[in-house]
Assembly symmetry: C2
Homo-oligomer: 394 residues x 2
């Protein structure tokens, strides 16, 4: 079979708020082959800019639109996905946003191939079975300690054995206020749950500012401090890791190429590498990172703050690794993200998430529910409409 | 003064060929302040996708259009440029293409501030003087050894003391053919010139394939092998560097954040770090890298294959470093790139390039000459035209 068309579906809440909630819009991708099969994926990315990366005019041989490396390609084996993946990386080397566009396409290719070969994606990736993962409730910090306590209590009551608090006021005020936030989260969760803290890159590369937060994290027994710095600030991560004791460093969600995540594993002192399949180049790149992390003894965790399609895709690369037992579970989705799929991956009574055993990803978008969130895009270049109804130059 | 408007000027040759020549299109940026001053910059990036990164709808608090962090900002001191720069990085953290958009804007901010303060940019950066640089003629390999010999002879005859050959057939055929290409280049240049070879990331992360090319590079006395691998493949670079003897590793042009280049300096065994100010986040980020490279003993070189505006911007960050003596000099520009500016940085009789001493960059685009290369872009989202005439939401 051959890839006949790729369609992007830009979906958005009617109003986008200036908060860290990445589920307020979405870019759903469908890939269709000439035998009528359809695979679905999602880019964790700016929808408009990613669509532009798909259809833009070529600038030179290493700055081609992503479409140039995807449309018309043969898709019959896992090797074909890897070949298409490598082709996009080479042909769009200098097109920065291409990695985010590739991510959703790559996920859709795995879904489609799984459907064609009647196998779940994790099995195509070489995993005999998908181990259940402990869902950690992923949410933003409350605006103050009391609000954070209430949020923590709510997810503990809902049965979560682990929870993460991030962004919001953390790192933006005094060290004492941050300590209050972290202790409130611990108190709300109870003594036994895993507590995770996400600084949302707020410290830039200021190791000293981040280090001032370590005592509170240690006394509240946080399992990790996530993204004190931006992805790629290897030296800052490594310096903080050397001081952090039982609190591990977590990071990597910003990586858009397997090499970047592998470099973080090698040089940033990470305890946990967090990969968003919707950014790193899809399931293909995420699996490379998962394999490398396992050899290196670094724990792999998904990064997912949006839909259950994204969640399902993000779990495939490490489904076969029993040791990598945690799973980020979005628990404050927007109405859009909440209505995204016709089924969901719900935690069981023990707080475990299990991947579907159906072919492909085993989860489908709810197109009828999504209809009202659709955003039309039209792009004209030199007087010609290049999107929608993009037709590559023959 | 305050930033009143930013305009993008998408320029393109009428036909784009599928070759490594990145000068076939361009994205010129102008920034205007409320007192009527104008600064100019250039993004080394896909024009359409970069424009989309400027004007796209917000996705969440860390995925805002670049415009959100630039328009209306105060611009009076160097600290203001750094503040605006940091604001873009934070507000557009998850918008991958933002770094390429920021690059051209940042360059224009330095140009504008230099004009406002009546100082060349290198002086604003703290360099008392701009040291002359030895221009190396940067060009693509010929299709075969004979064509490469002829190209080498031509630049030697033109007086260049150094030349680089890259892309084209190199790394795509046999080891013997690559050896012929490299030896032909050396023969054409003569024994005394610096010979540089650019593999254009052709080896992916295949260290063994790249290592097979080392003997020919060593016997032809190449100063460096550039980009055997993609930026960020730190381990592959470091392994090849350990085998390469007198042939140094050069790389870094793909970096879009100072952290990435600093990681390459620290962990990739680079002899030369090559920074494109049009990609890394502008002059601000390039200067951070130059400062770090100097401390670490790695040589800094510009990456420029396009216009003399880009060339002039790319030299500012290391103008004050006498030890960093080489300068990539585009010598096969498209007609568009060749007519880009009203003046040029021409090598003197000894092959040296000198920066202008005028305020700002000291070079201006030739708007009349560029008129015929203009490409109109129109972007509509949800029925509203967001580009051109982008008006941010108040």
């Amino acid at each position: 079979m051959k890839i006949e068309s790729v369609d992007f579906h830009y979906l958005s809440m009617p109003v986008i708020h200036d908060i860290g909630d990445g589920s307020q819009d979405a870019l759903l991708v469908s890939v269709r082959t000439d035998n009528g099969l359809v695979g679905w994926g999602e880019c964790e990315a700016s929808p408009l800019v990613t669509i532009a990366a798909w259809c833009c005019p070529m600038s030179h041989s290493a700055c081609k639109p992503v479409s140039a490396s995807v449309l018309g390609q043969k898709l019959e084996t896992v090797a074909d996905i890897r070949r298409i993946h490598d082709l996009v990386r080479a042909n769009s080397l200098d097109l920065l946003q291409a990695d985010h566009a590739l991510s959703g396409i790559d996920i859709a290719l795995w879904d489609l191939l799984g459907k064609a070969l009647d196998a779940p994606v994790f099995r195509l990736l070489g995993s005999e079975r998908a181990y259940p993962k402990t869902a950690y409730a992923s949410q933003l910090f409350g605006d103050d300690a009391a609000a954070t306590f209430a949020k923590a209590r709510r997810v503990a009551d809902a049965g979560f054995k682990a929870a993460k608090f991030g962004w919001g006021p953390y790192g933006r005020g005094t060290v004492a206020r941050d300590a209050d936030l972290v202790h409130a989260a611990r108190e709300g969760l109870g003594a036994d749950a895993n507590l995770l803290v996400d600084a949302g890159t707020v410290f830039g590369d200021d190791v000293e500012a981040a280090a001032l937060r370590l005592p509170a994290l240690q006394s509240a027994r946080a399992l990790w401090l996530e993204e004190p710095f931006v992805s790629g600030a290897l030296d800052a991560y490594a310096r903080l890791a050397a001081m952090s004791g039982a609190v591990k460093m977590a990071g990597g969600e910003g990586c858009h190429h397997a090499h970047q995540a592998i470099s973080m594993i090698q040089h940033a002192g990470l305890g946990f590498v967090q990969i968003d399949t919707g950014r790193i180049g899809g399931i293909t790149s995420a699996k490379q990172v998962a394999d490398h992390a396992r050899v290196h003894g670094t724990r792999f965790v998904n990064h997912t703050f949006t839909t259950h399609l994204a969640l399902c895709a993000s779990l495939q690369p490490y489904a076969g690794s029993a040791e990598d037992s945690l799973c980020e579970y979005p628990c404050e989705p927007s109405l859009l993200a909440d209505s995204f799929t016709t089924s969901k991956l719900l935690p069981d009574a023990d707080g475990f998430i299990r991947l579907p055993e159906q072919p492909g990803l085993g989860i489908e978008p709810d197109l009828a529910a999504l209809e009202k969130y659709r955003v039309d895009v039209e792009i004209r270049v030199a007087g010609k409409t290049i999107y929608p109804n993009f037709k590559p130059i023959p």
